[in-house]
Symmetry: C2
Subunit: 367 residues, 2 copies
């Protein structure tokens, strides 16, 4: 599970410890200076009611003046609490996750938790390495947007070992931990239904890792909306796996050469949608006029593009806040049994999804 037999199981820190700098001030030093016990100093700094107010202020004043820096390693050793929480996502570069992260950090920071973040880049090994390291640091909890390919036993194993775990954004089937996510089926359905209502009948879906719950569910929502409207799903263009702006750009050739050519495109996320918008325009097909394009996540740039992008707002801040609250509850010792309900996203209709061009291609083409 961890290192190969040849390698160290624990990473020895090379080089000399405490490279420079004098020995740091400890509780004991201050106790000596103030002629009290270390216990009193410890309690005073933490505002315990056990020490007299006058003593407490004297000690705190001294600590401040002397530049005392609390040693959390020492405290962590004794209390078995590190005040650190690990967050693993596949890509903080995605503004959507940056939003989630910000909310998490705000909420947890309030409780003096430090947030450690890792980009696992959808690489299970990277994710596992990061989790191993965090466990060594005895983090108080893990927030994970599981990499594609994550085994449910690994997640459950973590939970069983006693560490609070919360999954975000992506579900892992069979996991016995809370999952905070939005309802991707519903979100996709909203936006595809909107396209159908606009009159589109050739609606491609582009992108999404179908092995991840979000990729799977948005694809499902797309299918359900089509079926509901009596549209043949099998006749639609469906390109999986893409995730980035560059991917979206690259997909345009395939999109434009499809027969019949889609009159509308549902992109797995806004990044892909942005790539589509750029490359479509470059190809002479004006999005928002010649073709409808919808995104997902409603990230910062969506409203400001030309054309303004129709997208599904996922409520990343709500996801971050909810996940933070769940973590804190678990850390406080309350096991979370009921699963939080998926958050219902909101459709935001803008210029990029007009009705199909009247005399346009799409309905009948290639003839």
């Amino acid at each position: 599970m961890q290192a190969a037999p040849g390698e160290p199981l624990v990473a020895s820190s090379r080089g000399p410890g405490r490279a420079r700098g004098a020995r740091r001030l400890t509780l004991g030093d201050m106790a000596e200076a103030l002629q009290v016990s270390t216990a009193t100093v410890s309690l005073a700094l933490r505002d315990s009611p056990l020490v007299a107010p006058a003593t407490r202020e004297r000690i705190k004043a001294h600590a401040l003046a002397a530049g005392y820096v609390y040693n959390r390693s020492a405290a962590a050793l004794r209390t078995a609490r590190s005040n650190m929480i690990g967050v693993a996502v596949h890509d903080i570069l995605n503004p959507y996750f940056a939003e989630v992260f910000r909310a998490l950090e705000d909420e947890l920071g309030r409780e003096n938790q430090v947030v450690l973040i890792c980009n696992h880049r959808d690489d299970v090994a990277r994710q596992q390495r990061f989790i191993d390291t965090l466990m060594q640091h005895r983090v108080d909890g893990l927030v994970i947007c599981a990499s594609v390919g994550t085994r449910v036993e690994d997640i459950n194993g973590l939970a069983d070992s006693g560490i609070p775990v919360t999954l975000i954004c992506r579900d892992v089937a069979g996991a016995r931990v809370p999952v905070v996510r939005s309802d991707d089926v519903a979100g996709a359905r909203m936006v595809v239904s909107h396209l159908i209502a606009q009159g589109h009948r050739q609606i491609a879906m582009i992108g999404g890792r179908r092995q991840s719950s979000s990729g799977h569910d948005r694809n499902l929502g797309w299918k359900l909306a089509l079926e509901e409207a009596g549209i043949d799903v099998a006749a639609q263009l469906d390109i999986p796996e893409l995730m980035t702006t560059a991917d979206g750009r690259d997909a345009v050739a395939q999109l434009l050469s499809a027969t019949p050519r889609p009159t509308a495109v549902f992109a797995f996320n806004d990044l892909i949608a942005h790539g589509l918008l750029s490359a479509l325009r470059r190809a002479g097909v004006e999005p928002g006029r010649d073709i409808a394009v919808a995104g997902y996540d409603d990230t910062d740039g969506a409203a400001s593009r030309t054309p303004a992008l129709t997208s599904v707002w996922n409520k990343p801040d709500e996801i971050g806040k909810t996940a933070a609250a769940l973590m804190l509850r678990q850390i406080a010792g309350a096991p979370v049994t009921e699963m939080p309900a998926p958050i219902l996203p909101e459709l935001r209709v803008r210029e990029s999804t007009p009705p199909p061009k009247p005399g346009g291609e799409g309905q009948a083409r290639g003839a």
Copy 2:
């Protein structure tokens, strides 16, 4: 410097420690099980040559089988090394920093360092809070893109207390720590000279916190290029402080109503440039035809926009790598005395900066 007299100086962790889960396996437990001393176990796991190879493998096999998890808090207490490095930047949402961060993480991860990141959002207090927390966790080093308003004494104070510090991207005048940054004066000069060479004479600069070295220097580069060409700097539009896409969007009104109207715009960063492109097009002024727009950072989206954005490539990966190397060297005990030379950026010319429109406005207008 830290808490107000009323508040705890150290944040007590509320709630019970070790909420659930059985006691974890320790070195001692394994020593007992294997009938050796804890010292042997400790040494074996770290591949010390002091233990016989056979013993070592026996111990490692047992540790693996029993699911032992190394406790770094305990080790940190003894060795005064935490294997954590803190990184403070103003905004990881900016893809530029995400790139820097990725390089840092890759390099430091190789040395078993965990990277803690914080968005200080250009708020000195937030930055200070984060640094205080990291010091409590006894991080091995700090990588800082200093918030606007950071006092040089605080940076030097950190360094003097013995902790390795490296500044990135922004300089803090008078700091006695290495600074890894690109040459912003040169970069700005390149791009503005390019605009001048295209024939532009009204070149606005938009954005950048002029209190930060990057904002100041890019502004300086802009001025120098203009002066060099004998263009009156004072007659140019210069809008400071903006930083985001939304800011760029909002600046367009001011840009278009300026007299004489600029024929070219130099944006402090790509985010602003993106905002400009969108809003200009919406206002009916086609960037790349009616007006030239150049960005800075050459982040992911720059090449794929329509029009493709001329930008200055800042080499974020090189910055990250260099900073990581400097940190590791300092942590290893080698004080870094010589300051690394600023990295020379590269101009990347694309479609967004054509020559001024022949019969266009700009030269004489408002008449």
